[in-house]
């Protein structure tokens, strides 16, 4: 039995220590908002927060996150500036890559002091959106940064 702290809740999963964190989240904990895209950390669809830092869950084992706080897209607050900016700017098309992208941006936006939109945009080459929403992602990042600064989040 492995214990996992996800979105502020303690879970138990009957999986080996080297089980993939991504698939344990999806298939055992039924937190399917975190997506499988490539399995080798090349696309960013599986991005989650481990102790507040953006990480690719596809390349991690459950053992590696023992005792750490995991946040998935389902656990990111509804009023998080990135989630609100994504709705305001109508970023999403198919939406499959967006939970991972939102998690990555949210981790960057929450740094103190809040980085500039351009600084964040320059760190987004390791995610893929096949629908081609990149222009709106850029807009979303700008709006999220503005919201975060204004609200001191």
């Amino acid at each position: 039995m492995i214990s996992l702290n996800v979105n502020g809740k303690e879970y138990q999963a009957d999986v080996p220590a080297d089980a993939s964190l991504l698939w344990v989240l999806r298939d055992h904990l039924k937190l399917t908002g975190t997506k499988f895209g490539c399995g080798i950390g090349q696309c960013g669809s599986c991005t989650i927060h481990v102790d507040g830092k953006a990480e690719r869950s596809c390349g991690m084992t459950v053992d590696q996150v023992k005792g750490k706080k995991i946040t998935t897209i389902e656990g990111l607050a509804e009023d998080n500036p990135v989630k609100r900016a994504w709705i305001k700017e109508q970023v999403v098309q198919c939406g499959y890559c967006q939970p991972g992208i939102i998690m990555q941006v949210a981790a960057l936006v929450s740094q103190k002091p809040t980085p500039s939109a351009d600084q964040i945009i320059s760190k987004m080459d390791d995610v893929i959106c096949r629908c081609g929403t990149y222009p709106r992602i850029k807009k979303g990042i700008k709006t999220a940064v503005q919201m975060a600064r204004k609200e001191g989040k």
Binding site: C43, V92, G95, Y96, M124, R130
Partner: protein
Amino acid sequence: MKTSMTRRTFLKSSLAATGLTIAVSVSPFGYRLLNASQSKEALKGFKPNIWYEIAPNNAVTVFIGSSEMGQGTHTALATIIADELDADWKQIKVRQGPAAKEYHNPLLGEQLTVASAAVRGFYDPCRKAAAAGRSMLVKAAAASWGVPESECDATKGTVIHKKSSRKSTYGQLCLAAAKLEIPKEPALKKEGDFRYIGKPMARVDIPAKVKGTAVYGLDVSVPGMHYAVLARPPAYGAKPVSKNEKAALNVKGVVKVVETPMGLAVCAKSLDAAWNGRKALDVKWDKGALPQMDNAFIEKTMMAELDKPGSKAGENGDAKKALEGAAKKVKSTYFVPYVAHTLMEPINCTAFVRKDQCDVWAPTQGQTGAQMLASEVSGLPPEKVNIHTTYMGCGLGRRAAPDFVVEAVIASKATGKPVKVVWTREEDIKYDFFRSATCQRIEAGLDGQGQLTGWSHKAVAGSILTPINPKAIENGVDIMSLWGLMDFPGSPDGNRILYEIPNFYLEFLISELPVPVAPWRSVQNGPNAFVTESFIDELAHAAGKDPLEFRLPLLKESKGAQRVLKVAAEKAGWGKPLPKGQGRGIAQHHCFGTDVAAVAEVSVNEKDGHVKVNRVVVAVDCGLAVNPLNVEGQIQGGVINALSTVLKEEVIFANGGVKSANFEDYDVLRMSEVPDIEVHIVKGNDKMGGIGEPGVPPTAPAVANAFFNATGIRIRRIPLTSKVVLEALKKA
């Protein structure tokens, strides 16, 4: 979004008179409207495509058959109904309809979300259905107050009698309205009175997608669900020579190994067990049909096929004679490689076959095909097969193929369990049905004044129709492979090269290469437009004319193409000087009823061969834009897909199979490579065109033409990788 609505529920809920339900049935001969609380007899045989329901709790629910893969169809169709019904947008809910004959797209004749056809196919019928409902609600209100209908107005889900300040909500009126006869020719609103159509409406699917609660195919979970993964051949046509089934079955959790036409399916209680079982199965394969096939072989083969006799696909005038008499001749050969779909959600499907029922949960663009094949494989009649369409992690045409449905149904039938088939990214790329490579040669003639006199065109490509509808191939001509080069019967859109070429000849040969191909956003319009629009640019240069000025007089009959070319050129500052090492290129293409022109600006680094696209300016004429915000998003997406193909994408083959495996060796466009993309919507066309795909075709040639403008070197083979560019610069 719930996906469990079926025709049976439609009939049941309608007959129970729970509110006002208006359905519309569309056929190639027109449409019929129906008030669902009419007698049972009227409902018999009535096959609605789309329907909406107004309930006493004031909710308006719209049921839609088309799939939502990110293109915004659900929002657009609901917008049309909400506007014409004069409902309040806040009342509107959207539900995905089931697979059923009821949902066949009037432009396509089956339930299929392709060809950028969903919104334009249902625009008129949706408006009529909504106008009928509005008129019935007004009539019911007027009768209840004993006032003339003409004194009552419908607005935002309420009918108001101004004189007496009385009002009733649609929810309050729906039961009385349901008892009324449905008007045959309900009056439509004036376009100027639209409240939602033409406005940047927020999409209905976005909140759930941002929360992470939207259910995609891979997220489906059914009680008792097992998993299956397939061991697939490493080369085309390869057959298994040995396997260790015992070892696979010894893996904890593995329950069965099942043969399928696509490979050996290892079925297990968990995904890990299935993957471990596949490894243990250790299938050894023979060398397959064409072990020597790699990229060089493919290019050489297609070039050689270009010299073999093909089939005449189109002709007007006498191209041969015109070329003989030409003052100047230009002849060029182009090659576009195979590219993959790489949808972010790898291919998957879940099925549960029982004695008397089969359920399929599929991220599919083609419900009709899915239902037909699930019925064949399960042995159950189609009406016992329920297709539950999930959200899709992108579609791009790949999900119109039903191969994954077949795999899931076979695995479920063999195990008696609900089974989810999961593809890895590596499988998703290696076993994709690619956008076909194509090799094309054009020879054209100009007269002494630089006027185009004749055009002789030969194309070789894979056949898209062979696996899906081989009967549609007449005399060796696959119209889908030639999309954008010739008109074809039965299509509501013009699909030919728009330029008015006085003497024209088009010949086609289906390539013998064993690589499977399928539609890829805009089908072959993408590669075909790359060829024609690059070549037109070559002709302009040969004629000593500006590329825009050369094109316009050849498009006298195509006002839409003229409009978008002029707008894109003007907005991009066509003709304004650029710094050294930079260039500007233009291209246009018409497909799916929509005209698009693009101007691209590029920088070329002659030292390292790097091409950077700095800016793309697009003008689009799709007639009425139901949701301009979505039109912008779809065009930008199409442009980005096309930039990815012109700059980076090419499937790598080796040893008779696919070598590319993941984003490490099949990379797509990334954020820092995306230029500013301006989209200008030009409303000129009377007829509504599609919007999901037309952004692709003009983009790649605009970039290649800009490269020529910057360097004086013509690139006839994409992608424009540093290696290709450096070689071209060296040769020049």
